[in-house]
Structures are given as C-alpha cells and as structure tokens.
Symmetry: C2
Subunit: 494 residues, 2 copies
C-alpha cells in the first residue's frame, strides 16, 4: 500500500509523527502511537502513527508528514511512501515493568533515557513512566542510574580546573544568592558554571533576574568563552541543553504539577555532573509556603541527594535553610537585581538576610573546596569589593553594561503602597501570595514590575504602616495586584 | 495580544487544540496542555494549548486552529483571536488525587468521566489516571461509580421487554459462542442486544466473524429496528457509542498493552447497563495462553464483576471456562462462521466443544431469566432448527443473504497442511501461536484466511498426521504462515 505524502507544516519538537486517515489505519491494523518504518524511494526512517479521527486534509490514500519526518528523510520533498509496521520500542517494555513495580537495571534505564533523547517514546508512553515514579518512587540505585543516563545522553563539559557549583530547590521569592555566590567563588579563584532556570510559576527565576542586567542565552561554546575569561557565568540552562532528557520530563510533569522526587534528584545531580562539578552545595529552603514544606521532607530529600550524589561520584553537601518568608526585600527581576547589587556594593540598604545567606553558602562551598578560614575569606571578598568587580566583569562578558551599578536601575512607573490595617508584630509572610502579587503586577515578563517589602517577619508595625510597594508599568496590572491585596494580605500580623 | 487565525486542516477527534509559536507561548507564559478561552468576535470556546517547538507554518503572531476549534466556534472562518488563560480543569485535581492514592467520591468520578466525554482532558493527563488505576486499582465502590458515570455520560437503550446479555473476557481463538447464544435466546422469546468488538490483537473478533455473513455497522436507531424485528442483533459496538468514555481509555491503554482490571470491569458492566440488560452472563476462559492465565486471577475478576454488578443493580452471573486451547476448529472470520453454522445446522462436522459450550451458556442465561428446564429447552431449540432460523433471520435483517448456509462459504484458495513430526498425544495447543498463524495468513482483514484444526487436545496423532490446514488468498501470506510454523509449532505432543 502506497501513500501520497502531504506536508502538514507542523512540528512539535517530539517524535516524527505521520498522520493517517482512520480508514487506512483500520486497513493496516494500525493504532495511535504504533511505530512504522517509512520508506520513500531509497530513504527510510522510523515514525510514530497518529490517526485523524474526524475530517481533515489527510484523505484515504494520503499520509501526513510532520516537519520532523522531512528532517529525518533529508532531501525528500514529497512523492509516495510505503510503511512497514515495527514492534513497539524496547523502552515501552521497561516502562510497563516500572508500572508493575519492578526494579530497573542500569542497562534498562540507559535504554529508556536513550529512547527519550532520540524521541522514540510518545507523550502518552512517557507519562506512564512519570506516573510510576510519582507513585512508587525509584530506589537510590535507580535514581543514580537515571542521573548517569541523563548525563551520558546529553552534552558535557570537562574543564581542567576545579569546578564548584550550587543549587537551590526554590519556592522562595527574592532568594537570589546565586548572583552573589557565583562572583564570590570566581573571585576566590575557582570555576563556577552556573546554569539556571527561568520562572515557571514564580515571579522571577535567577535567569530572569540576571537578564535584567545582561543576556542569559548562550550556546555552550559562547558560555565556555565567558567562563574562560571570568571563571564564572550565570546563564539560562534551557539554551545549553546539558541534560536534554530532563526537558521532556518537565513538559509531562507540568499539566498536573507533578514533581516526583527521584526525577528531581536525578535531574539536579545530572546537571551538576554535566558541568564537571567537583564540589556541589545544595540549598533546601523549608517553609509552610515554600516548595519543601516540612523539615521531615527536607531531610528525606537531603539524604537522597547525598546518597545519589555519592553513587555517581559527586561531592555533595546539603543545607536546610529558612523558607518561611521571601529573602531580601525586592521581588521581580529588577527589584531583585537591585538587592543583589546593594549587597555587593556593601550599601546600607542591602537586605541583611540575603547578604548573610549568600555569605554562608559561599563560605560552605569554599570550605568544601579546601579553602582555609573560608568564613573570614568571604567577608574579605565582599568588603574589598572583589566580588562586586567580578560580578561586573561577568555581567559585561554576558553583554551587559560595564560597571553595572544599583543606581542605574529603573523600576515600574506606577506604584501602590499596601498598608497595615492593625498594630502588631509580623508572624509570617506568605511566599505564594507574594509571588502572585508580583506576577499580577507584570513580573517576570516586565522586568521592572514586582514589589518591595518594607517590613519582614518579626518586625513591629503600626496601623497604616506601609508594608509593601507594588511597581508596575501598566495601570491595569497595578489595579489587578491591588484587587488581590484587598482580598488577601500576605502578612500575618498578631 | 491578538493572533491571526490559521486553519491547520487537522482534526484528532480529541480536545480543541490551538497551536502557538514558542515565542508567543513564552510571552504569554503558556505551556503545553494549558487551557485558554479563545475569543473570535462575539464567539468564544475553550481550547487546549500546544506549542510548536521547531519550524512550522504557525509564525509568531499567528494561532493554528485544529478542526475541532472551528466546529466549536460555528461560523468562524478566520480573522483574529484573543486568548484568556484559564485555570486547569477540575478533572486534573482529581487525577492528581488518585495518583496520590486517595479514594474518589461518586461526584469526583462523575466529574472526571464528564470531562473525558467532553474532551476536556489531554492524553497526557488521562494517561496519569490510567497509570494510577493500573498501579493502585480502584475499590469496588469507585469501580461501580466509574461504571455508572460511563453509562450516564453515554447513550442508553431502554426497552420494555426483558433483556438478556452475555460477555466473554476473550483471548481464546474460535470462541464464537455469541453467534449461537444470541439466536437461541431470541428464539426463546427474550431480547438480546449484543454489541461486540473487532479483533485488536486476535485473528477475528465476533464482529469480524459476523461480518463474514452480514453487515455489523449500524447506528443505534437502525440497530433497534433490527432488534424490534428479530429480538436480537450482533453488531459492532464501535459504531453505537454506548459507552464513549471507554474508547478514550482503550486508546491510552493500547501503547503499553495495559488492561487495568477496574477499567475492564467498569467498561464491561457499563455496556451491559447501557443496553438495559436485566440478566448478564459473563464467561471467563482460563488458560496459560488465554487472556486470564490462572484460576486465581479468574476468581478475583469474577468476584469483582459480581460485586460491582450488584452495586449498580445488574443481575450478573459469572462462569469460569476452559481456555487452554482454541474453541471449535476454524480460526479466522469465514472458518469460524462455518463452525457456527455447522452447529446451528446440527451438521455432523459441528465441533463438539463449541456446541457444548454455547448450549451451556444459553442454558445458564435462560435459567437466570426464570426459564424452567432450560437445559432441555436449549437442546430442543437447536434440534428443532429454531435457532438456525432465528440466526438466518438476524443475518438477513443485518443485510446478509437470506437463508445463509455453511455450504455458501468460500475459503482462501491457497492452502498448506501442517503435519506432526512425531507420534503421541496432544497435550496443549498454544492460543497465541494459533492467532499468530491465522493473522500471518491474512485474517481478519481477509475474511477467507485463517486455519482449520484437524486435531485438538487429548487426541492421538501419528507421525505425518495433518494437524492443521492454513488458508490464504496470498501466496506471500501463506508462505509467512508456513515459515512461522517451521519455527514453532502450536502443538505440544507427548
């Protein structure tokens, strides 16, 4: 049976999909997600069947090619295609075994991740794997094998120098310690290749905040050029493709907001391994409204990170920190960048908690690398402005202005002051509400939008004290943030 | 932000999908499977986002509509669309709760099934539900609620007469008792509305075999016309849409060949409830190479079917039967139809096991309905040819020839005799190998292809005795079946 090729002009970035009319599919006994070898002239490739169930332009006798099929059949523009039905990929058997609660071997997991990276599995099939891991977990050995398979099936960096790295589990607005730790480690003479994410549900990811000052999107080679020059970088991981299997998991986890611990652990450690990190510090903030909500969960995650790290030959240290309120005072890209610069400039407006936390993490990381008197060392690096100079050097290497300074920064033009409606002491600040207000004001899309916290936990307030100021460049967005604040305050005052 | 509408000319029969370029998706902070309200002029509808990750014809500023979007926005041909981001559908929260191992209430399950039927959930999302049920199961109450929700969200039939029904769990080639039970029950004066499936992995489903003699694809109204005239029918369930939520599950279960028991149970019983069955007989064949492989599994399934049946007000009787070898002698649509006709014609070539089993099931079903001396009754109905006449009446009502007879049937023109290579007694016949040989010969696509078993279990054979004959209409397909037989024999001889 031959089919007339039709270009669907559609690309999904996933498997090479071919569309058949349902009558032809029935005739060939083919079902959604079945694998076929597609022959066009002397060329052939493997495709995944999708079936047009209703009316469409793929008629009986035609076959619709997604762009990925043409890419794989280089040179083919049209003509006729023949199909050969293939057995399901080996990876499916492994996913089914996991669903049944069986342990997968190192070889199994490598095969699975290889299949994921080569786009051999459909979304439906991989969702089953994520579901199995969410429900039953993976043991330490499986998680380590997953991390190693992700490294093996992605790009890697192998520098001769000692490489340090840090990671934060997240969920706390304003927690931009990375932007202080990176220049400090580099100023101390160590290499640190920091790839970060953008905001997914937060008001600003590290990449969004760095982007308020410089570019964050670089190829791997351009990034290595920056590291060679400055010993550090703060770039967006999404453009580097260090652990590409991970992107696929993220896509499937998002609709149900799943975040299975073993995939989280494997994905974090795989990224550290990919950049060739010798010492890795991981920060787990704990708080009722943070990502990790209890100390018990934090300790379990800590143990898993340490055990798996050890199994894959990474020197991992994990600290559990306070995530009960935002860190620093600014929330939103520019507002957070200003906090960071104030710390680096040793300005008196520098938020003490951000400064203390960044110094603590830098000290721990340098200590891991064998630096003597690291606690004193990091203070010196800050006070001497070595860290600020290094920061400016990196920002400039990433295409930002020379000698960036906090006074250069501009905030949103419309503001709203939210005031206390009673006297008392602040007991808690809800991270999720703070994030919501900053995103309503336009962050992270609008870099200058966000909010500034005038008061934080344990501080006393009077009636009518200004608690926070919202910044926005849109009257509508400011008014949305205002409406939200009228409905629910992020401050608990007693 | 306004988008220029582009008709993708693609329909999937699933949710209303809109495609965005990845830059626009980033700008709007939208991800795959996010829900949006789509406004075009004064019309609006809900769509599911998909993102073009590579190159495609949806450029920044454009929005690709799948055919389902145009169907929902009746009258809209093009122009500009605005989007409003919606919260995820309630059904997702329920799926996540199931993944966490929580029990779902009747209301939860109704909401979920309603969402499935209205195509509110993406494939990824529903796969998580199937995975959760596969791994953790559903309790009896949840299964009953699922069955009732499927009935409620599909078409139903409500006749005034007493309706009987039967179902077979399957996995045994040649097991065409339905085609004898249906005319017998109808000849006894009861109504039986039998919807069956086509072969998915077998050589012939009941629908494929009936189709060797008559049409099986009818609308619900046409089918009811046949039932009104003859009291029975044997049609393809896929065209009737009695339990439409079920089709969606089947699509998602297929890639990994999952068949979670609770979904199986709910789906079988929902279909029986939908046709208004008063008495339901379910046959579970057990055998090493059948669908249900052990007596223990069969008993567990039996109990579940009975308990859930009772909870939804169905009178269910379950029998466990021998599935250790094919039933009858023919395998493949026409070959099976010939076995059935031989039984009905009381021909001496009628396979005894098929006849005995069909009479046994008919007897049990009539007994459930209160027929006295049902064992004797079914024998009379057979010997008097009342059942044959009723069968011919139904076949004719379904568009087949008048007075259909076994002598009308034509088998594949090319044949191959497979012979024993030793003397002994047949210990077992592998159902899966038999299915494989018949499908290699061309069944069920070619109605005349298949095989005929000359010898069955417990029979003695000499060296060179013909064990089976393969029938095909293609020399190539015959040769494929031959090659397979040379490699592995379905007969175990001792």
């Amino acid at each position: 049976m031959k089919f007339l090729i039709k270009d669907m002009h559609v690309s999904t970035g996933g498997p090479a999909i071919v569309l058949l009319h349902k009558e032809d599919a029935k005739e060939l006994d083919l079902y959604t997600a079945d694998r076929v070898r597609i022959y066009v002239g002397k060329k052939s490739t493997i495709g995944v069947i999708d079936i047009l169930d209703g009316e469409g332009t793929v008629k009986p006798g035609q076959i619709g090619f997604f762009t990925e099929v043409f890419t794989k059949l280089r040179g083919v523009k049209g003509g006729f295609a023949r199909l050969e039905v293939l057995p399901p990929p080996e990876a499916l058997r492994l996913i089914k075994r996991k669903l049944r609660g069986e342990e997968l071997t190192k070889k199994d997991i490598e095969l699975l991740v290889h299949g994921i990276v080569l786009n051999k599995c459909s979304d439906i099939e991989l969702s089953y794997f994520v579901a199995a891991v969410y429900m039953d977990g993976l043991n330490t050995r499986e998680t380590a094998n997953l991390a190693e398979a992700i490294v093996k099936n992605g790009k890697s960096i192998n520098l001769r120098s000692t490489v340090l790295d840090k990671h934060c589990i997240g969920g706390v607005p304003g927690n931009r310690t990375t932007m202080i730790v990176v220049p400090m480690v580099a100023a101390a003479g160590y290499t640190i290749i920091k790839t970060s994410s953008r905001a997914i549900t937060s008001a600003s990811g590290t990449s969004d905040t760095v982007e308020a000052l410089a570019s964050v999107t670089f190829t791997k080679d351009k990034m290595l050029g920056i590291v060679k020059k400055t010993k550090g970088c703060m770039v967006w991981g999404g453009a580097i493709d260090l652990a590409s299997a991970d992107d696929r998991f993220v896509k499937l986890e998002r609709p149900l907001k799943l975040d299975p611990e073993p995939i989280l652990v494997a994905s974090i450690l795989a990224k550290k391994k990919s950049v060739g990190a010798d010492y890795v510090l991981i920060d787990i903030p704990v708080g009722k409204t943070a990502k990790v909500t209890t100390n018990k969960k934090a300790r379990s995650l800590k143990n898993k990170l340490k055990e798996v790290g050890e199994m894959i030959g990474l020197n991992v240290h994990v600290v559990i920190t306070d995530g009960s309120q935002p860190v620093g005072r600014g929330v939103g890209p520019v507002l957070e960048a200003r906090d960071v610069l104030w710390v680096l400039e040793d300005d008196k407006r520098a938020p003490k908690d951000l400064k203390d936390r960044a110094l603590y993490l830098s000290h721990l990381l340098l200590k891991m690398a064998g630096v003597k008197k690291s606690k004193q060392k990091v203070k010196e690096l800050l006070v001497s402005k070595s860290t600020l100079l290094k920061f400016q050097e990196i920002i400039s290497a990433q295409g930002g202005v020379e000698h960036v300074h906090s006074s250069d920064l501009k905030l949103g033009q419309y503001t709203y002051d939210f005031k206390s409606n009673k006297k008392g002491k602040i007991k808690a600040i809800d991270n999720k509400f703070i994030t919501k207000i900053a995103t309503l004001a336009g962050a992270p899309k609008n870099k200058r939008a966000g909010l500034y916290l005038h008061r934080k936990k344990k501080e006393k307030v009077k009636n009518r004290t200004v608690l926070l100021t919202v910044y926005s460049d849109s009257k509508q967005e400011l008014s949305n943030a205002k409406s939200f604040l009228r409905g629910c305050s992020p401050f608990e005052i007693q």
